[in-house]
């Protein structure tokens, strides 16, 4: 839903309604022959600039002897603050489920971080996930689709240190083509991924078809 709202803001109500009407005509009778909203090839959000992170490197400079120095691994993240969305949320731990997918918060009002990924202030992507809605209404990441390139937010670690990140990319991905490496893959930079659902809700399985992923790099 957040992606839908985002498109509405940028594309205009009239255009969006026309598109939706066309989709209704194309899908209702054909069983989905027309491409559903947000469930075809990945679509980069309009107005998102090419990645240009200027994150401070968490990798220490080589020692004077020239010997390599282990890169900083960071600390456990404790809080996500997104002023543009009015969010200030404590984080809960999320792991990997028995089916191999990322665990998600059982409480639809909570945001969680993937404990097997990066950590605030260290190398690698710190991956945070929250629901766009529950079974009864909007949830904590309902507005995530509004974040655009240039927006900033912060992550506070358990020691109280605050790290600022800037969005450089926001993109929707079909779940069956989820870019595991781009989202969870190792990095020498300090980055954050914010994940929620978007696109069409498939009532037959009880899930949205797509994920919205916001990519952000550390700036301070």
């Amino acid at each position: 839903m957040s992606g839908i709202l985002r498109r509405a803001q940028r594309g205009g109500v009239v255009a969006a309604v026309v598109v939706a009407a066309a989709l209704l005509g194309g899908c209702a009778g054909s069983g989905g022959a027309g491409a559903p909203v947000g469930s075809s090839s990945p679509a980069v959000a309009e107005g998102v600039s090419p990645p240009a992170p200027t994150s401070p490197s968490p990798t220490p400079s080589p020692a004077p002897s020239g010997a390599p120095v282990p890169p900083a691994r960071g600390e456990v993240p404790a809080r996500l603050t997104v002023p543009a969305l009015g969010l200030d949320e404590e984080l809960i731990d999320l792991g990997i489920g028995t089916d191999g997918t990322m665990e998600v918060p059982q409480d639809f009002s909570r945001v969680g971080w993937f404990t097997g990924g990066g950590r605030a202030g260290g190398i690698g992507p710190t991956v945070l996930a929250g629901h766009v809605d529950s079974a009864v209404g909007p949830a904590v990441f309902f507005d995530l689709g509004l974040l655009q390139a240039g927006d900033r937010f912060s992550v506070t670690d358990v020691a109280g240190a605050v790290f600022d990140y800037e969005v450089y990319r926001a993109e929707d991905f079909p779940k069956d083509e989820f870019p595991t490496g781009e989202v969870f893959g190792a990095l020498l930079d300090d980055e954050v991924r914010l994940i929620t659902c978007t696109g069409l809700f498939d009532e037959s399985v009880g899930h949205y078809k797509d994920n919205r992923v916001v990519f952000a790099a550390r700036v301070a």
Partner: protein
């Protein structure tokens, strides 16, 4: 890094042949075919995934003694596994290394059965990242077992009998690295770290249902209802956002 990773992902399958060829040509002493295992197309699904941040400070020699690679070198190894099919797909990028590869194995880029701080035998040999030079080197594709490495201990190849189910059972016991002539013990190395596969199920559909037209019992009707929710949601943007904030602060969850 992100730009490179995006481009590589989208061209990974196309680039497989070239990377494999380059790797085979560049391997020292690789007179035999570069791979006994089969290079295959990407499967439709995966049972697990792993990532590795390989750095020079983690390199050990065969005796387990710290033998750092060159300062400034690094590597990322992203693996996706379908253990039912014994297929591993790899996306490898190394930077900050120079010169040719060197290894007694049939390639110089491996997964070793080696826990953190320990040495261990290679179990899988991947095509070496290319091109050789001072810039970034990449290697992408998918391999299907049975695997061979070209390293023979007691008459048995160290890849013999190894399956990806073993890797999934204890991924922390495995490391990835690449070896060069300048750093035969390894230029970079890192432990495998498991990451999720597939999409993330972060929605219950309540917002869609609240805005949807009356549902019809058939699947086509359900799809139409969801699309209708999209259309109506456009109009209700401001109101819906306000409701979202209130619900969140009230701690409403389904």
């Amino acid at each position: 890094m992100s730009i490179q990773r995006t481009a590589r992902r989208r061209t990974g399958i196309i680039g497989l042949g070239g990377a494999a060829l380059a790797g085979g040509v560049l391997v020292f002493g690789a007179a035999a075919p570069a791979h006994a295992e089969t290079e295959v197309a990407e499967p439709s699904s995966f049972t697990s995934a792993f990532t590795v941040m390989a750095t020079p400070d983690q390199v050990l020699n065969a005796d387990g003694v710290a033998t750092p690679g060159p300062a400034g070198a690094s590597g990322t190894f992203d693996f996706r596994v379908n253990s039912d099919l014994d297929i591993i797909c790899y996306d490898i990028t190394v930077t900050g290394i120079s010169g040719d590869y060197m290894s007694p194995a049939k390639t110089a880029t491996h997964i070793h059965q080696a826990a953190a701080g320990k040495a261990g035998p290679p179990r899988i040999a991947f095509p070496n990242p290319a091109p050789v030079g001072d810039g970034p080197r990449t290697s992408s594709g998918c391999l299907q077992g049975p695997f061979t490495t070209g390293i023979v201990n007691n008459g048995v190849d160290t890849g013999d009998g190894f399956t990806l189910a073993q890797l999934e059972a204890d991924s922390a016991a495995f490391a990835a690295d690449t070896h060069t002539a300048a750093n035969p013990a390894g230029a970079v190395r890192g432990q495998l770290s498991q990451v999720p596969v597939g999409g993330v199920q972060t929605g219950g559909g309540g917002a869609a249902s609240a805005l949807a037209v009356p549902a019809t019992p058939d699947a086509a009707g359900a799809t139409a209802g969801a699309v209708a929710a999209a259309a109506i949601g456009v109009v209700g943007l401001g109101l819906a956002a306000g409701v979202a904030l209130k619900r969140r602060r009230d701690g409403i969850a389904g």
